[in-house]
């Protein structure tokens, strides 16, 4: 048996944008075990429900993560609305959907950039970030902020988008789609990228299911899971098909995210064509008394916002189960048996969001 070494990876490492640590147990160049360590920057946001009433808490939920901001606010609001039996106006549901898909596009393009940087493709990184600006500009024009949306509220949304602006957004996203086809062709066809990703970081469909994987990680292994199909917000009125791959490797995860960017552009086009006229919010009366598990599809997969209230204006419990947290056991499984040199690529394609995990 080869001598065993422990190689520490993180919490600061070029491929890790946020702090997470792995102790990689290696035999020669092969990783035989990986022990994750989290909570370097744990914020305990869940306990802020003791100090912020259920309406104000939307701002906290919005700030759990920069890349999944809108989905956190939306999931939280959905949970409170379900507890209080609030019927959100249909226009508000469409607006939430449009912003959620813009958030997904900007998160996935950001991932393309980070991945390109990790592979050593500097100009590809710059191109990805340049294209992401188009989406950030749209978000800024419609919400007033580039990263933290701040538009959701219990009972609806805070801002409307007029028809002309919506038309302009669809046109700009169509142009962005053409540019993205050129950009993503490099990720799909480049020999160097394929060589480093194909067959690396494999996880089977059965393991993905048993280990509770969610999001692109699960879908790249052929596990059909996408919370948008359960029909929250305006998704029941739109054509949503989970983007599946069967390879279960890093390349498959890359393909799933690329296809989801184009799917999101299409969903925004569909939503802009179907959005009804009407109010964007309803007046909220009373306080939450009951409980609900809200499930929303973030860019990284299923997120759960659990809300429990006892009739007080302060919630009794707010709990977020984020996709990265539930994907950690699969990360360990994937790393076992991999080569040390492949670990950075594996981590990149798993796309961990530590900001969410350290809620």
């Amino acid at each position: 048996m080869a001598h065993r070494n422990i190689i520490p990876l993180g919490p600061q490492h070029p491929v890790l944008l946020e702090p997470i640590h792995f102790d990689l147990v290696t035999e020669d160049e092969t990783v035989v075990d990986a022990v994750p360590s989290i909570s370097y920057v744990h914020r305990g946001l869940e306990r802020l429900v003791e100090k912020r009433d259920f309406n104000d808490f939307v701002h906290v939920a919005d700030r759990i993560c920069g890349l999944c901001s809108i989905q956190h606010a939306m999931g939280y609001c959905q949970a409170v609305e379900a507890v209080m039996g609030i019927e959100v106006p249909e226009r508000a549901l469409y607006l939430r959907t449009i912003w959620a898909e813009l958030g997904r596009i900007h998160s996935h393009i950001f991932w393309l950039g980070v991945a390109a940087d990790g592979f050593g493709y500097e100009s590809l990184f710059m191109q990805s970030m340049r294209l992401r600006e188009v989406v950030l500009d749209i978000i800024e024009e419609t919400t007033g902020a580039r990263i933290i949306f701040g538009v959701c509220k219990v009972g609806g949304v805070r801002r409307d988008i007029d028809p002309e602006t919506l038309k302009g957004i669809v046109q700009r996203l169509t142009t962005l789609g053409v540019d993205l086809e050129e950009l993503t062709a490099v990720f799909i066809n480049d020999y160097g990228i394929k060589h480093r990703l194909e067959g690396v970081g494999f996880i089977s469909k059965e393991d993905a299911y048993t280990l509770g994987c969610v999001g692109p990680l699960a879908r790249a292994s052929g596990f059909d899971t996408d919370m948008r199909t359960i029909g929250y917000a305006a998704y029941p009125h739109l054509d949503v098909e989970p983007m599946l791959e069967q390879s279960g490797d890093c390349y498959g995860r890359c393909l799933v995210r690329i296809r989801e960017i184009f799917q999101s552009i299409d969903l925004i086009r569909q939503a802009a064509g179907k959005i009804p006229e009407g109010p964007i919010d309803v007046k909220v009366k009373g306080t939450p008394n009951g409980e609900y598990f809200s499930r929303v599809e973030q860019p990284r997969g299923e997120v759960i916002h659990y809300v429990k209230g006892n009739g007080s204006k302060f919630l009794q419990r707010f709990r977020v189960r984020v996709p990265t947290f539930t994907n950690i056991p699969a990360m360990i499984k994937i790393m076992k048996g991999s080569q040390v040199a492949d670990i950075p690529n594996i981590i990149i394609t798993l796309d961990p969001c530590i900001s969410c995990t350290e809620r």
Partner: protein
């Protein structure tokens, strides 16, 4: 549109048997969460199969031990370590036990009854002032839970 959700109350000792049955039926473990009540903890084990959401629920006191389900669902160890570190509950036979080091927190077990404040429910309308005073002094609530250490 609210998703239909099933909450099934179970006994603490039935947990492992029921979870093994759900695993055999092909359910996915979605999450395990804990809620601090006034004098106890409420645990929710959530499962999903074909987008049908199901919860197992039971209540335990601080002293009671809970059996781990990580032998059945290997991904349960993270949730169980989280509950141990944040709530201070004892979970037996976890496949991976961090022994309280998964979370680095400023205070130990920040979500425990001693540290967590459970909001008082609103007072019923028409209650007389003297009765309201009595309602505020809840003899069941420990003193520590009314005044968090933080």
């Amino acid at each position: 549109m609210s998703e239909p959700q099933e909450i099934i109350p179970i006994g603490k000792n039935e947990l492992v048997g029921i979870v093994a049955g759900l695993f055999a039926e092909g359910h996915r473990l979605v999450q395990i969460s804990c809620t601090t009540l006034e004098c106890a903890y409420e645990l929710n084990y959530s499962f999903d199969k074909n987008y049908r959401f199901k919860n197992l629920r039971f209540t335990v006191t601080q002293e009671e031990e809970i059996q781990s389900i990580s032998v059945i669902y290997p991904n349960a160890f993270l949730y169980e370590n989280e509950i141990h570190d944040l709530f201070g509950l004892t979970i037996k036979n976890m496949t991976v036990d961090y022994h309280g080091t998964l979370y680095r927190t400023a205070i130990k077990t920040p979500y425990s009854i001693e540290n967590c404040r459970v909001p008082a429910p609103p007072k019923p309308k028409g209650e007389k002032p003297q009765e309201r005073g009595k309602a505020e002094a809840n003899p069941q609530q420990p003193e520590a839970s009314k005044q968090p250490k933080e």
